[in-house]
Symmetry: C2
Subunit: 601 residues, 2 copies
C-alpha cells in the first residue's frame, strides 16, 4: 500500500455529491460518460500516481535536472511518465474526440491533475503544460499547425510550454522585447530572450513547442502590440526533416523546490534562424494567451492544494503514530505516552490543514464546473458561467497558493524536529509549494486583477452574479436547522464583503488608482476566505443530509470529520475577516504616501 | 562594501534612545563601560560579521557538514570563527571578569548575537551554545568543573551543547531514559541516546562538552527525576590525558536549512565507559537547565529576527534596483519602467517586514533589559524584572519565530521568480528560519507555557506587572499629541487582552485543562501582536520627539521611515487581534471534542 497523499473518498464526495458532475452527461458533449466511467478515469489516475509518480517524488528532488551541453537532462522517469500520459490520453483529456482527446469535463480533468500533483507536483507539470499549449493551438491555430503539432503533443512525445517572461518583463508583460520579423515564407523570424520557462527544454521528449509572446516589428507599444507564436525547438525543413530551429537553452535556474521540473533560460534566434508561426491574430497575442494563462492559474491552485493535501496526510500519519506526552488532564508520568493526535493543539493544526485543503479543492472544482457549463450552455447562461469563472480565477489561484504554504507549514510543525529533516516528505512539500504565490502571476498581481478589473468589469456584473451564487448556497443551507448559526455567520460576512467592496469601489471613483488598489492584496485575501467559507457551507448541506442517515464505520467518521473541518473553518478562519475588513475600510494611503527614501536605513 | 543585512542605525536607536543601555553603567557591575566602549563592541561585532561570517553564508549552506567515520566535519571557516570568538571574548561576553568574561549587559550581547546571526545564522549558533553551556556550569557547577571546562570553552577551543532530546522524548522531557549510574569515583556512568543535538559533534574544536539531562538510577518518574550532567566527548584520565569518553556520534540529520551547523545523534555509554559529572543538585536538573533553555529561547527569537532582518535588506536592495511596471496612475507603456519600490504593494510588503523585524528586536532587547536589571537589582525590584522576563520569554521566542517566517516569505515575494532561485539569499533565509518555531520548544509548547503557567503563576503576578509596564508606555506616549489615536488603539487592545485573559482563566477554573488550553497557541499569537504593538508605541514616543527637531538627510529618512513602520504595525497588524479575540472568547471545545478517528479519511 502506497503512502497516502489524498482522500479518494473526498474527491468522490465533491465530484458526485456536491458538484454532481454526472449531471453534465445529460448534455450531448459528455454523453459518452457516466458515473462508472468517471470512476474508471479516477482509478486510472490513482494507479499512475501510486505506481509511478509517488515512488520518485523524493528522488526527482534529490537529482534535479542538469544543464549539459546546451541541453537539459531530467530524471529518466519523466520520459516514461510522458509516454504513459500519451497512451492513457491524459494530455488530451479535456480536448475533443476529433483531435484525439478524451472530451472529459474540466471537473474530472482537474481532479486527475490534483491526483498527479499530490503524488509528485514537479512531474505533473510536464503534461499539464503540454495540455494547455495544445489547447491554445486548437483554439487559435490554423489547421496546418493543428495537424502538425497536436498529435505529437497529445502523444507525450513533444513538450508544450508557455514562453512569456523575459529578463526585463516578468509581471509587466507589456515590456517584452522578443521580436518577430515578418518574412515572405509564411513564418516570422524570432529573436529574443526568455527566462523562467517551465519544462522549457529537456531530454525526455523529441521536441519542445513554445507558445511564445513576441512583438511583430512596428507593432504598437505595450500589450496592444503583443502577438502569439508557435516557436518549436526543432522545425520541419523543406525536405521534411526535423532540424534545429535556433532556440538555444542558455541556462537553468537552481530553485528552492519544485526541482523535478527544469526552469530554463532560452536564447532565441541568436543565429538569425528561428522560425515562429503566428497563432491567432497579430497584436492579439495576449488576449489569446489568456486562455492558457487562466487555465494555468487554476492549475496552480490545484497544484498548491494537492501539495497541501500530501502534506496533510503525511502529518496525519505521523500524528497517529508518534507517541509523545500525556493528556493535559492526566499528567501522571508513569502512564504511557499518547499519540500526539490526542492533543488539542495537534488536532487544531490538522483541522486547519484539512479545512484549507478541502475548502480550496471545493472552490477549484466549482471553477471547473463554471468552465464546463460555459462550454456547454449558450447565451446568457454561458456568459454567466464565463463571468463567474473570470471573477474567481485570481481567488482560486491565490488562496490555495498562499494558504497552502501555511497549511504545509502546520503539517511540518506537527512533526517537530522530524518535519525539518528529509526523512519525511514535509520539508520538500514546504519548498515545492513556495513557487505557487509567484508563478502564473504573483499574489499582488492577482489582487490588482480581482479588485482593479474583475470586480468592477461590466458595472460589477460578475460580482453581482457571484453574490447571487452565495445567496443560493445560503438558501439551500437554511433547510437544515443544524446549519442555522453558520448561515448567520456567512450572511454577516456577506454584508461585510458588500460593505468593503462598496467602500473600495467608491475610493476608486474618487481617488487615485494607487489609493484604490493599495490594499488589493488584502482584498484578495478577504475574498478568498469568504469564498472558501461559502464552499464549506455548500459542503455542509450535503454533510448534514448524510449524517441524518446516521452512517457508521468509515462513512460515519468521514462525515463527522467533514463537519468538524467545516466548523473549524467558520470558527477559526472566518473571524479573520474582522481584522481585514477594519484595515480595508481604512484607505489612509499609508503605503502610497511612504517615499522610497524612507526605507533608506 | 559588504551586502546589508541589518541597520546599525536602528541598533543604536534601540540600545541608546529607547532602552538607554548606558544607564546600566551607573551600577557597579557595569562601571567599566560607557557609550563609547559599547560602540566599540558593536563595531567589532560588525567587523567580524562582515569580514568573516557573511562571505561564507551561502557556502556553508552549499557544503553542509558530513558524517565521516563517526566524526562530523564542518566548514573549515567554523574553526577560524570560533578562534576569533575566543580571542575577541565573544563566548564569555556576558560572563564575569573573574572567569575571563567581558561582563557586558545582555542588551549588548544580544545585539552582538543579532549581528552575527543576521550575517550567518548557522555560524552564530556554535559560540552561542558554548556560551549558554558555560554559563550553566558557572551557575551550578562545582569549582573543579568550572576550572576544568570554562577556560577552554570561553577560548572557543571546546564546544558546548545542550543535550536534552531523545528519540522518544522531544516535547515531553519527562520521558527521557538516559541513565546515570552512581559510582564511588565521584562520577556517574551515563548510558543513553540523544538526538537533534545542535553542534553535537564537529571537527572545528578539540572537545565537545554536553550539558546533558539524564536520570539517576532509582530517581522518581517524570521531571522530578531529571538530573544535569557535564558529559564531555573527551575526558581527563588518571594520567592527565584527554581520552575518548564513549560518546559516539551515530548519525547526522539532513535538514531543510540551517545547514551550516550539524545536528547530531549521539550514542552514550555503549561500551559502558562514559563518565558524567553532576551539575547542581540531583533531581533538579531540569530546573537548572531552564537557565540555559530560557537563554536559548531568547536567542532563538534573536536568530529569527536576525534572519528576517537579512531577508528584509536583501528584498529592499532588490526592490530599489529592479525596474518593473509603471505607476498605476500613469500606465503609458512608452514611459520607462519604475523601480518596484514605487508600487504600493511592494512598499506594503517592505513595511510589513520592517515592522515585524524592528518590533521583534525591540521586544527582545526589552527582555534583555529585564534580565540585566534582574541581575543588578535586589528584593522586589529584582523579582519584578525576573517575573517580567519569565512571562515574556515564550512570547519573545515565538513571535519572531512565527512572524519571522512570514516576513521572510514576503521578502522572497518581493523578488518574484528570482526569490525562488539561489542567485539571491532569500531562498536560504526561508529555509534557515523554518527551524525557529520548532527548536527550544515548539510554538505549541510555548502557548501552553504562557497561558498554562506564566499568566497564572503567583495569582497572575507577572501578568499584572506586565499590564503596569504597558500603562507606563501609554503614559509616556500620551505626552505627544501625534500619538493620540495610537494611544487609543493600544488602550482598546489592552482592554481586549484583559477581557480575553479573564475569560480564559475562568474557563481554566471551571473546565478541564484541555478546554482551558485548547487555543493556547492562538493566545500566544494574540499576546505577541499586543507586545510588539506595545514596543512600537514605546519607540514612537522617541521618534516623535526626534521628528520635532526636523532632522534632515539620512536622519530624517530614518525617523520618518520608522514612524511609517510604527503606523503600519498599528494599521495592518494590530487589527488581527479582532479575529483572534473573537475566537479566543468562544471556547467551544471544538479541537477537544473531535475524535482522532474522525481524521481517518
Amino acid at each position: 500500500m502506497a503512502a497516502r497523499f489524498l482522500s479518494e473518498r473526498n474527491l468522490k464526495f465533491l465530484l458526485y455529491d456536491v458538484f454532481d458532475v454526472v449531471a453534465l452527461t445529460q448534455y450531448g458533449y459528455y454523453k459518452e460518460y457516466d458515473g462508472k466511467t468517471f470512476d474508471m478515469v479516477l482509478k486510472a489516475a490513482m494507479d499512475l500516481a501510486e505506481g509511478l509518480l509517488w515512488p520518485i517524488f523524493q528522488e526527482m528532488d534529490k537529482s534535479p535536472p542538469e544543464w549539459v551541453n546546451d541541453q537539459i537532462k531530467v530524471h529518466p522517469s519523466v520520459e516514461k511518465f510522458l509516454e504513459k500520459c500519451g497512451e492513457g490520453g491524459w494530455i488530451g483529456a479535456g480536448m475533443p474526440f476529433e483531435w484525439g482527446g478524451q472530451q472529459l469535463p474540466q471537473m474530472i480533468t482537474q481532479v486527475c491533475t490534483f491526483i498527479f500533483a499530490a503524488a509528485n507536483y514537479s512531474a505533473s507539470v510536464y503534461p499539464g503544460l503540454t495540455s494547455g499549449a495544445a489547447h491554445l493551438i486548437l483554439s487559435f491555430g490554423k489547421e496546418e499547425l493543428k495537424k502538425t503539432y497536436l498529435p505529437k503533443m497529445l502523444s507525450g512525445k513533444w513538450q508544450g510550454t508557455m514562453a512569456l517572461t523575459e529578463p526585463e518583463a516578468g509581471s509587466s508583460l507589456s515590456d517584452i522585447t522578443t521580436e518577430a520579423e515578418p518574412t515572405d515564407h509564411g513564418y516570422y523570424k524570432i529573436r529574443g530572450q526568455k527566462i523562467f520557462i517551465s519544462a522549457g527544454d529537456h531530454d525526455a521528449v523529441e521536441n519542445v513547442v513554445h507558445l511564445m509572446l513576441a512583438k511583430i516589428q512596428g507593432a504598437p507599444a505595450g500589450v496592444k502590440g503583443i502577438s502569439l507564436f508557435v516557436v518549436p525547438k526543432k522545425r520541419l525543413d523543406e525536405k521534411g526533416q526535423w532540424v534545429p530551429n535556433d532556440v538555444v537553452t542558455s541556462g537553468i535556474f537552481h530553485k528552492l523546490g519544485y526541482r523535478g521540473c527544469p526552469i530554463a533560460q532560452l536564447s532565441i534566434g541568436d543565429s538569425d534562424d528561428c522560425q515562429g508561426y503566428l497563432v491567432g491574430n497579430p497584436n492579439q497575442g495576449l488576449l489569446h494567451m489568456f486562455q492558457m494563462m487562466n487555465e494555468a492559474r487554476i492549475e496552480v491552485g490545484v497544484g498548491a492544494t494537492a501539495i497541501a493535501s500530501a502534506a496533510y496526510y503525511a502529518a496525519l500519519d505521523y500524528s497517529k503514530k508518534r507517541l509523545q506526552g500525556r493528556k493535559l488532564s492526566t499528567k501522571d508520568p508513569t502512564l504511557p505516552q499518547v499519540p500526539i493526535i490526542e492533543h488539542p493543539d495537534v488536532k487544531r493544526m490538522l483541522l486547519f490543514q484539512r479545512s484549507i485543503t478541502e475548502g480550496s479543492l471545493a472552490l477549484l472544482i466549482q471553477c471547473g464546473k463554471y468552465a464546463d457549463l460555459a462550454g456547454i450552455l449558450t447565451g446568457e447562461e454561458k456568459e454567466k458561467n464565463e463571468l463567474l469563472l473570470d471573477l474567481l480565477t485570481p481567488v482560486a489561484k491565490s488562496y490555495p497558493a498562499e494558504m497552502g504554504l501555511l497549511s504545509i507549514s502546520a503539517g511540518l510543525q506537527c512533526l517537530g524536529g522530524s518535519g525539518y529533516c528529509d526523512d519525511y516528505p514535509l520539508e520538500q512539500h514546504y519548498r515545492d509549494a513556495r513557487i505557487h504565490p509567484i508563478h502564473e502571476g504573483t499574489t499582488g498581481i492577482h489582487g490588482l486583477d480581482l479588485l482593479g478589473r474583475k470586480v468592477i468589469m461590466g458595472h460589477g456584473k460578475a460580482y453581482q452574479l457571484f453574490l447571487e451564487e452565495v445567496q443560493g448556497t445560503l438558501q439551500e443551507a437554511k433547510k437544515f436547522e443544524e446549519l442555522e448559526s453558520y448561515v448567520q455567520k456567512l450572511t454577516q460576512s456577506l454584508d461585510t464583503l458588500k460593505k468593503v467592496t462598496t467602500h473600495l469601489v467608491n475610493v476608486g471613483k474618487k481617488g487615485t488608482p494607487e489609493l484604490f488598489l493599495a490594499d488589493a492584496t488584502l482584498y484578495l485575501e478577504f475574498f478568498g476566505i469568504f469564498c472558501v467559507a461559502w464552499q464549506w457551507l455548500a459542503q455542509a448541506s450535503v454533510v448534514v443530509k448524510a449524517l441524518r442517515n446516521d452512517p457508521d464505520g468509515a462513512e460515519g467518521y468521514f462525515y463527522k470529520g467533514k463537519f468538524f473541518a467545516f466548523r473549524y473553518f467558520f470558527e477559526y478562519e472566518l473571524p479573520k475577516l474582522e481584522g481585514l475588513a477594519k484595515r480595508l475600510m481604512n484607505s489612509d494611503g499609508l503605503t502610497v504616501d511612504i517615499k522610497p527614501d524612507f526605507f533608506s536605513d
